[in-house]
Point group: C3
Chain length 290, copies 3
């Protein structure tokens, strides 16, 4: 039984992402670009600019990890096969007669399949990033976590910077306060794979890759089907926040209780303040007064 399990996970870990999983990743990325307002018009007016945006969406994570490790950001352009594949996907998505590709992509089973396959590539990217960083800084585990995270979920930073430079996006302070769900799971995966790589986790790499991929794909498909984005990680985050930062709230909470007892006018505002602080969630709005 164990031999069959080993066999299965090893075969899975040796699967090449090229071409089918890469195609799914490029398809999901380019469709995300197409759904931005004005993207189709940009493709008609300035195909070069549209092609460049598509390449940044497809290879953004790799570009960011190259910048972090002082490697040429243009390195992704040397992989001519993948560039040709991504460019073909871009061309077909934006210039197909009758917009057939977008219409086909609007069916949920197609979206689920593509999204699931894209999540598989995420695992490969995290593992690639962690291994690559280790070749630079042996046992530099913070660097390994950062590079794994960048390669798995960093594309959004690269595209946001470009949007900023193009004037299409004005950052609001709040946006940076909230890590998106893909970012959170990628950070989690990066930490786990770094622990495994530095031999702090008693599990083989191929077993971990298989289990983490199953986890990713399951979460992603569940979220797409149920349209619910934050179910799984919120309790875990709350616990972590209470442990590391929550005791300070408890401390000030008991102080407030003491103050309100001493000055018991019993106004509604202080009562509601005590109730608000009692939640202890990490999703508190930035305007909360302490």
């Amino acid at each position: 039984m164990e031999y069959l399990w080993d066999e299965m996970t090893l075969t899975f870990a040796r699967t090449s992402m090229f071409p089918f999983f890469d195609i799914a990743h490029y398809l999901v990325s380019v469709m995300a670009l197409k759904q931005r307002p004005g993207a189709a018009a940009v493709a008609w007016n300035n195909p070069l600019s549209s092609w460049l945006s598509a390449m940044l969406h497809c290879f953004g994570g790799g570009i960011l990890s190259c910048i972090m490790l002082a490697e040429p950001p243009l390195k992704f352009l040397t992989n001519h096969t993948n560039i040709l594949l991504a460019s073909s996907i871009w061309y077909i998505v934006f210039f197909c007669p009758r917009d057939l590709v977008s219409q086909g992509y609007s069916y949920l089973p197609i979206q689920l399949l593509a999204a699931g396959m894209k999540e598989v590539t995420r695992t490969w990217k995290i593992v690639g990033g962690v291994t690559h960083a280790n070749s630079y800084y042996r046992n530099g585990w913070i660097v390994m976590i950062a590079v794994g995270w960048a390669r798995g979920a960093g594309g959004v930073i690269v595209t946001s910077c470009v949007e900023l430079l193009k004037g299409d996006w004005k950052p609001e302070g709040d946006e940076w306060l909230k890590l998106s769900f893909p970012s959170k799971v990628t950070l989690l995966g990066s930490i786990i794979f770094t622990l495994q790589h530095t031999n702090h986790l008693a599990m083989s790499k191929h077993d971990l890759m298989f289990l983490y991929t199953i986890f990713l794909v399951t979460i992603k498909l569940t979220m797409m089907i149920t349209k619910d984005t934050t179910v799984t990680l919120a309790p875990f985050e709350d616990t972590l926040n209470r442990m590391l930062f929550g005791w300070q709230q408890q401390f000030s909470l008991s102080e407030k209780k003491l103050e309100s007892k001493l000055s018991s006018n019993g106004t509604a505002s202080s009562g509601s303040k005590v109730t608000t602080e009692d939640s202890g969630s990490s999703e508190r709005h930035a305007k909360k007064e302490d």
Copy 2:
């Protein structure tokens, strides 16, 4: 005859850009900086900031190609002779008594001579960029095109980023949709020199350098004398756009014709829509509805 031709192009290709062509390039760049609103005041109030802007205008293309290839962006500061020359040009332009240099530069023959010599340096930069990228990634032709383009025309990106950081420039989405004319000819040159470097073009490098420089200088001087900026490349661009992207327009155009026949209420809007789509130009405004 052929021997004379070879002799001439070889001598031309071995000409050093230092000092006369470099002086012309620095002069044109610093004058372009001086003509920005408020530049003279900045030079008086904060000479260091003005000097830095001037250096970015003069060496911006090289800085961008260094960033692309993960070389130190400060590498240009090690060439003390060129830095001294560019700094002297900046000092003379901004601090000459009675503003003599700006007055001299306002004469058209002087501007034509300087602009022509600057275009010669553009060829050298493209060739330098293509060769340099090839030393990093042998046969990485996309990288070679990108680095040649960056070194020949990338200065404007570096200075735009700095203007953005200084708050002097707010990007509008439309600006990035339109490649300037120097960018287009530099991209064309970069592609041609890359093809020559990878032995896909049956022409020697010195012949190509000579012919491309003649082309650049002729176009530039013609545009300055006639004040017309887009004559030469527009037909070529239209043809290319029709070939690669135009057939989709034809397809939707015949669809629209069919729809308007079937629902022939003959409103003015649909009639004008058909007329608009019939132009097929790539300079269509981004707000056009498809």
Copy 3:
């Protein structure tokens, strides 16, 4: 006597910044972060974002010098001891019960001690930057000045860029016109140490480090006690500006005097113009008409 002096300066130059001087530097940096509006709320809502900002404040100069020399910007994350120390300072400052650390820091003697020790680290950073740049470009003195400056005072650039990306800061043109006082003294120090390193200054490195540190600490403490920010360098700056750029003002000043004599209607505006130009200060407002 000379032997005692040598002994003292050598011992001083061999002092390690770790841990006490580094603690002071991290404390001052994190307190500067905490005093920004909304920083405490960000720490509550998104500790990861707050921790990242704190790391950029503490290690920003090193990150900028790495970017300038095309080294991995993440290099600072490999020094686990310093990261742990800085993270602990951040945690204690933001999450201490009853905000004890901020209250302790509000006492002037504590601030003076921490600021003085932070200025000592500035000298070490400038020297480290100059030496490091020399290992890349032997005798590239402009690069050495730039890297020394970046490492000593470049943190503010890194944090400003991040603030810009977060939308918390809109750059005004004027801000970049005025170098802050720490930037000016760091530039001065960088130039001096570069001259010493290239053997143009007949002084040993440890003597220079001692004297420059005494100078920095004295200036900083004097400024904090007297609350005066620009006393010391303004006369020196004015002299330098007059020498390099002032003669042009003298020239146009005598021209103006001649013009006002010739057209002596004696209006108040031209009289005040002459008076304004006569000041010759480099702190002239950017709106001055020339």
